[in-house]
Each structure stands twice: as structure tokens, then as C-alpha cells.
Amino acid sequence: MIPTLIGVAILTFVIMRAVPGDIVALRYAGSSVPQEIIDQERHILGLDKPMWAQFVDWMVSISHFDLGQSLWTGNSVVEEVEVRMPLSIELAVLATLFAVALAIPFGVVAAVKQDSWVDYAIRIFSIGGLAMPSFWIGIMMVLITLTFWGWAPPVVFTPLFEDPIANLAGLVLPAIAVGYRYSAVSMRMTRSTVLEVLREDYVRTARAKGLRETIVVVRHALRNALLPVVTVVSLEFAFLIGGLVVTEQVFNLNGIGKLLVDAVAHRDYPLIQALVLLLASVFVLVNFVVDMIYVVLDPRIRYS
């Protein structure tokens, strides 16, 4: 996983610098600032050095756990991320919980009632989740709560530990909007793996010895069908942290996704690099955790 991260680091570094226009050019765009001042500014920010020197500088500071400062706000990158991380993580957790709560029961029911109208209804429901943009689901939910209860989610974000109720009030709608969409993939996965497992010999054995159908399905089938579902859910969780750009926009949430988009727009190199590395690390880390969970869920798997 270290080579992937280094690859991500080099690629982001090169691509962002290959793109025309740096932060200084963007800041003074359209104004008649003399070239000396622009050059001076570039010198202060270290953007006049050759690319390899900039890369070495960056690598050296990373090895000291120094991620540098945002070129746009001047705050340290750690600070910028720190204020937004709790929101992004909380939203990702809530959305994942909602998605799982929806996906597993529906997926199991669809599998047990295969090819019945229940199965069809659930499949349409899940394909619908993939089809509707989550930001539009969000807008529609705001519209519904607004017209029927005259309630709209608060505009300002309250940290969880300050006022849990106000905090949840702000996050529940985006979590449902995102969670519904993400439940679709895991629901389909649950359905197909349960279908597969239900045809196994040991399920027939369990039925033959007279166990109740619920116990057969939940304890014998579901437990063994969960492995691929865990993978899908976890990888989606990793993507949720930085990938909710549009939903954050709808609900006016200041999260990691929005930060990344702003950073790219401003050519804020240190911030982009740090965020990209962070997101890639989360992804790699989640992959690693999934491998560990496998060992617990399936005793046949061992890593030496």
C-alpha cells in the first residue's frame, strides 16, 4: 500500500503543476500588478524553484509530519482539515449506518422471495436509488419537510458534543439522501450473495433438521453471505469521506469534499496534496481493515 500512496503523491504533484495557472496568477488575474511583485510573491511561496526541488522540499517536510500551510488562507493544512474532518466522518458514518440498515434486510427479503413482486419492488427501489442524484433527493427532502412541517435543516453546523440534537438535525437529511443511494449497491450485493448461499448444502441440512426458516436464513445463510457485502460497504465508506462534494453544497455543509474542490480551484498546492494523500490513505487503510475483518468473519482466511 505504500507504493500506491507514493504513486498518488507523485501523480498529484506533477498533474497539479502541469495545469496552467498557479495561485499567484489566479489571485492577480485581471489586475495590472507589475511582474516584479508577482515574481516576488512566487519566490515567497517557493513556486519559482524547479519542480524536482519543490517535490524534495515537500517530501522532506512530510517526513517531519509537517504538511505545510494553505497558500490561500495562510492557515496550516492541519488546521484546515481539523475543522472539517469531524463533520465529514460523522456524515459518512451516519450515511453508512442508514445504508446498511436499509440494504441488509431488503437484500435478504429480496433473495428469499426471489422473482416475486416483493423482489421486483425491492429491485426497482434499489435501482431507483442509483438513478436519483443524491443531491436531488436532498433537495426533495428539504422541499417535503418545508411544505408539510415548515421545517428546514439548520444552516449552521453544530459540533456533536456541543448539542447532539442540533447536530443530528443538520445531518439527518443529508445522511438519508446519501445513504439511500449507497444502500443500492450493497442491497444488490446482499441479494445475490444470499441467493448463492441459500443453494448450499449446509442450508439444506439446516432446513432438513427442522430449524425455523428465519434461523436458517439469518444464522446460516446471512452470516456467510456477508463477506462481500462488508467489502462493498467499507469501500463506499472510504469514498464517502471526500466524495460528498455535491451533497455538501446542497446542505451548505463545510466538509472535506468542499475543501478539496476549493483547493483545486485556487491551485492551493499544499492543501490539495495533503487532502489527496489523506483521502488515498483513508482508502488504503479501510482496505487494510477490511482484510482484518475478513479473518474475524471467516475463520478459514488467515494472513501469515
Binding site: T4, I15, I124, I127, A131, P133, M140, F239, L260
Partner: protein, 314 residues
């Protein structure tokens, strides 16, 4: 039942043998094609529903000038924010423009971006996947690592990065398409590579090689046709995704620009601003996006089941 239709004598036939051969190929090809779709319609009602949605959308886009009652860009202040009525089926927006006409013309943008991005992205993925699987070794390693890097980010993040890099503007629809193409490539390449890996091992590939066929000929003539089923399936699946991405990018202000009618753009401006006064502005384009993606997903799903049962993942 199709036999009579299939007995068409090829025009430039050189020998009786040739005629028989062509006739045979033509009949099996066409008959299989017809039988496949007849079977598809009969056994996969959801997929057929999806196909109908797609056809309706294609027709709407092709005949937008005829279907749409108004010019989608015609500003008409007396009709400002008018609710749905017989004059304006889906109401009018904050410039008095007819929402129904804008939704119809928006399908052109969605299909243009969706088709191009999905076709280019899937084809690049196909080539990279086959090349990696066939050549193996260091080439494969390099392609794989590059794809891994791209795969560790959500679709939308890569798309935004590409669009920010290439720049946005009124006449920069090509940049939007490019931005949607890039994240599709690694996803297709991965699937194609895994199918191609087993084909590369087949004896007939070795036979072709021993006859003296070059790498390029083998890859394009002998490997690619055999990974065409997953390619086709992903092409339909990513069409929906691409339409969704275009809507998301336009919604963020990083996609298509006014006055081009785009569903995402309609949600962005007035849709959000006048949510309480004129909810139809937010409802109509969202329903359009959902129906389009829904159609492609339903169709792609059933196509996957019909073409290749082994590919069932959910």
C-alpha cells in the same frame, strides 16, 4: 420464422460456395439477433421498460425542435415563475422560460455528454485492459498501478480535478466530457483485464501466435471480440453514471454553462433559489435525470443477465 427474410443473395458473390457461406452467416447472425431480443422482451420486463425509457429519451432529443413547444432559451418576463398550466406544462422559470422545453432540450446535452464520455472511456479502458492482459510484465504493472491510483478516489473527485485543470467555460463542453471520461477508464480497464486474462491463456491465442500473427493483430482481432460482452454491459452502465456526473458537475457550476439547457444547471440556479415559491423548477429536471439514469441502469442490468450470467454481481 426469420428464414424467409434471411434468404437474401449477396450482391457480389463470386461462387456458389461463397453464396452458401454468406447466406449461412447472415441467417444465423440475423436470426440470433432477432431471437435474442425477442427473448429479452419476453423474459426481462424490467430491462424492456428501461429500453422503452431510453428510446423515448432518444426520440425526445432527436426531435426536440418538434416536441418542445417553446424555444428553450426564449426569455418571457410576463410568465415569470408561472406554475404548471396548459400553456407551460411544467411551469416557467425565473426568466419566464418554458421548463418543459428546457427539459426536452436538456436531454440533448445529457445524451451528448453521456454517450461520448461513456464510449470514449469504455473504449480506452477496453484497450488498456486488453493490452495489459496480453503483454503482461512491466507494461501491465505500470498500467495497473496507474489505474490503482485513479481508483482510490471517488468518480466525482477525479472529474472535478480534471475539469479544474482543463478549465470551464461556455464553449468548453469537451472539457466536461473529458472530465467524465477519465474516471470511467480505470473501472472498465480493471474488469476487461480480468476477463481478458483468461482468454489470453486459451490455446487458440497460442495457435494464432505460432502462425505468425503480431501482437496488435492478436489483441484487436482475437482477444477484443471475446471481451466485448463485458464492454457492452459497462458501456450502458456508465452511460447512466456519465449522465449523473454531468448533472452533478453542472450543478456545482463546473459543467455546462448557461444558456445551454442542462438538467443539472436547472437545479443549480433557480431550482434551489425558488424552492418554496416554485418547486416545479427543482422537481422537473430531477425527475428527468432520474428517469434517464433509471432507464440505462435497468437496461444495462438486464443486458448483463442476458449476455453473461457469470458477471452477475448484484
Amino acid at each position: 420464422m426469420v428464414e424467409t427474410e434471411a434468404r437474401v443473395v449477396p450482391e457480389r458473390a463470386t461462387s456458389a460456395d461463397d453464396i452458401a457461406k454468406r447466406r449461412y452467416l447472415e441467417s444465423t447472425g440475423r436470426r440470433r439477433f432477432v431471437r435474442f431480443w425477442a427473448d429479452f422482451i419476453k423474459r426481462r420486463p424490467l430491462g424492456t421498460a428501461g429500453a422503452v425509457l431510453i428510446i423515448v429519451m432518444l426520440l425526445a432529443a432527436a426531435f426536440a425542435d418538434v416536441v418542445a413547444p417553446y424555444d428553450p432559451t426564449a426569455i418571457n418576463f410576463p410568465d415569470l415563475l408561472k406554475p404548471p398550466s396548459p400553456q407551460h406544462l411544467l411551469g416557467a422559470d425565473n426568466f419566464g422560460r418554458d421548463v418543459f422545453s428546457r427539459v426536452i432540450f436538456g436531454s440533448r446535452t445529457a445524451l451528448l455528454v453521456g454517450f461520448t464520455a461513456s464510449l470514449v472511456g469504455c473504449t480506452l479502458g477496453l484497450v488498456l485492459g486488453v493490452v495489459g492482459a496480453y503483454l503482461g510484465g512491466r507494461t501491465d504493472q505500470i498500467i495497473q498501478r496507474l489505474m490503482d491510483v485513479l481508483l482510490s478516489f471517488p468518480l466525482i473527485v477525479i472529474a472535478i480535478a480534471v475539469v479544474a485543470a482543463l478549465g470551464t467555460g461556455e464553449d468548453k463542453i469537451a472539457n466536461v466530457i473529458a472530465a467524465i471520461t477519465v474516471p470511467i477508464v480505470p473501472r472498465v480497464a480493471r474488469v476487461v483485464r480480468s476477463s481478458a486474462l483468461s482468454i489470453v491463456q486459451m490455446p487458440y491465442i497460442e495457435a494464432t501466435r505460432s502462425v505468425g500473427a503480431g501482437a496488435i493483430r492478436i489483441m484487436f482481432r482475437h482477444v477484443m471480440p471475446n471481451v466485448f460482452a463485458p464492454y457492452l454491459i459497462m458501456l450502458t452502465a456508465f452511460l447512466g453514471q456519465a449522465i449523473l456526473l454531468e448533472a452533478s458537475l453542472s450543478f456545482l457550476g463546473l459543467g455546462v454553462f448557461e444558456p445551454t439547457p442542462s438538467w443539472g444547471l436547472m437545479l443549480r440556479g433557480a431550482g434551489m433559489q425558488f424552492l418554496e415559491q416554485a418547486p416545479w423548477l427543482a422537481i422537473a429536471p430531477g425527475v428527468a435525470i432520474s428517469m434517464a439514469v433509471f432507464g440505462f441502469n435497468l437496461f444495462g442490468d438486464s443486458l448483463r443477465d442476458a449476455l453473461d450470467p457469470r458477471l452477475r454481481t448484484g
